[in-house]
Symmetry: C2
Subunit: 331 residues, 2 copies
Amino acid sequence: MKGNILLDHGEGGTATFQLIKEVFLKHLGEPEVLEDAAILNMKGKIAFTTDSFVVRPLFFPGGDLGKLAVTGTVNDLAVMGAKPLYISAGFILEEGLDISVLDDIVASMAETAHTAGVKVVTGDTKVVRKGDIDLMFVNTSGIGQINHEISLSSKSCKPGDSVLVSGTIGEHGIAVMLEREGFEIQGSFKSDCQTLEKLTDSLLESAPDTRCMRDPTRGGLATTLVEITSASKTGMILYNDRIPIRAPVKAACDLLGLDPLYVPCEGRFVAVVPADETESALKAMKSHKDGQFSVKIGQITNDHKGVNLITEIGGIRPIVALHGVQFPRIC
Amino acid sequence: MKGNILLDHGEGGTATFQLIKEVFLKHLGEPEVLEDAAILNMKGKIAFTTDSFVVRPLFFPGGDLGKLAVTGTVNDLAVMGAKPLYISAGFILEEGLDISVLDDIVASMAETAHTAGVKVVTGDTKVVRKGDIDLMFVNTSGIGQINHEISLSSKSCKPGDSVLVSGTIGEHGIAVMLEREGFEIQGSFKSDCQTLEKLTDSLLESAPDTRCMRDPTRGGLATTLVEITSASKTGMILYNDRIPIRAPVKAACDLLGLDPLYVPCEGRFVAVVPADETESALKAMKSHKDGQFSVKIGQITNDHKGVNLITEIGGIRPIVALHGVQFPRIC
């Protein structure tokens, strides 16, 4: 389908149906019913989550708005121990948007959904006047089935537990920011944007007493870890020299005056596991290409003093949650 | 909470948590877990739907963005024969938005959810720079449980079936448009925005062979009816003199050159029921205050010629689906 988005395409009439058919259904596949809601078969505990995505630019090294919108919601389900199954997609489009741009974004959503084994089953399109927004926003909500006999919660973390991270941090935030701002910094930068459902599933198989998993998106690793200690009323020691950061990302952060601990990831997760399951947990995570750099970065402690970073020279730096803006429109 | 929305409030740090606590949780109640997804118990068939809401103005006679966002999703579930249970809420806010406005919208969402017996269980907030959007957008997705032993589908309609509507049409579209454009037309105008779950449930109890229900939002009654005949490959005769329209709405449409058949409703539904269940269906619908003007407006026929309106003087006017824009940003 060629041309540009018109207000017509958001009005629920024949123009809307043409767009649904020639862009959305072309990539996402025909649903069993094309009615006001999808009908699904579920049993037992399910996880339900939502996220809106406003990232700029729409396309960045390692991903785009469509890939990110599916990834973000799949990962929110995966870290709750759910098998992601169904996704909804709500689009808000700017009048005048080139339909080929929308087509590329929807194709990317479809590809990501296919890889993650989820199906986009229901959607909605609104169009607003030119200038009311820039290009497009996407909301995805997701439903996953919880099969594991576990109850994951940040509140369950106990002193002695190990804190693991599934890979190098900060790559999504740096890649999007460099692309948007047009900074030319030597080195290759690529978002870590990827779905985590296979990795989290392996972890839960191998470390059934896993306390919690969290994906450090907005607020970065530091904010996620502070939230875990805050929910579980524990402390945490973090070893600075064990936190995996790629050299170009570290260099870019130094140059830009950013702390990589606060830079968003979109394809990593933190897991807290009991000490005696640490080895099997890491083995399971490392068995996946996407988790090959998994590592223990710290430990839960019994003081109530939040997160403390042990520096290379043995100093202690207290880590606080991000307060405000470091990265607007990064996801 | 006083003040204005800052970019800080969308960054996932402590400012975000303050907003969640002092605005969202204040009205919507504390969830059992404040993690990346809500955990819910479901069994069997569920319905899943999503809608983004971009209505302007945010407040209009008979409703507001918050009431509309919950109502729209509740109704999409209700017309699929589901009992609406859980809602997600994704906000995109403009930097600078007065927090008291957000507070009013969220309070209205909470009140509407309470009335409909649904719980807002998960959410997300993004903030974009001043000028990137005007004020705010809301996406709601919803999950409902299907308890009735029925399979509703527009495809099931058969010749001889009755076409019912649950009340007067066109009130939402006219109320929002008059408010937005500042037209001063005599008469009182109020959106019909209301949740339909009790009405649809009563109907299914009393008319278990109901073929389908649809809410005529964007595109209005006409587009909904055309979609039904198109899905079921049937025709439909519609009696113009039976279609309930309040006199001031009719007058406003005449004045503005609008056809009330295409004006969006947000608290009405169309049901197609077998001829022999028509009486019990109407009795059930009329037993509710919100359905007191329920009436049979037409009949499914065995020709394949879409929807035909029989005028008061016996003429026949073919009804087509809305193609394009009649009402931008009405929902």
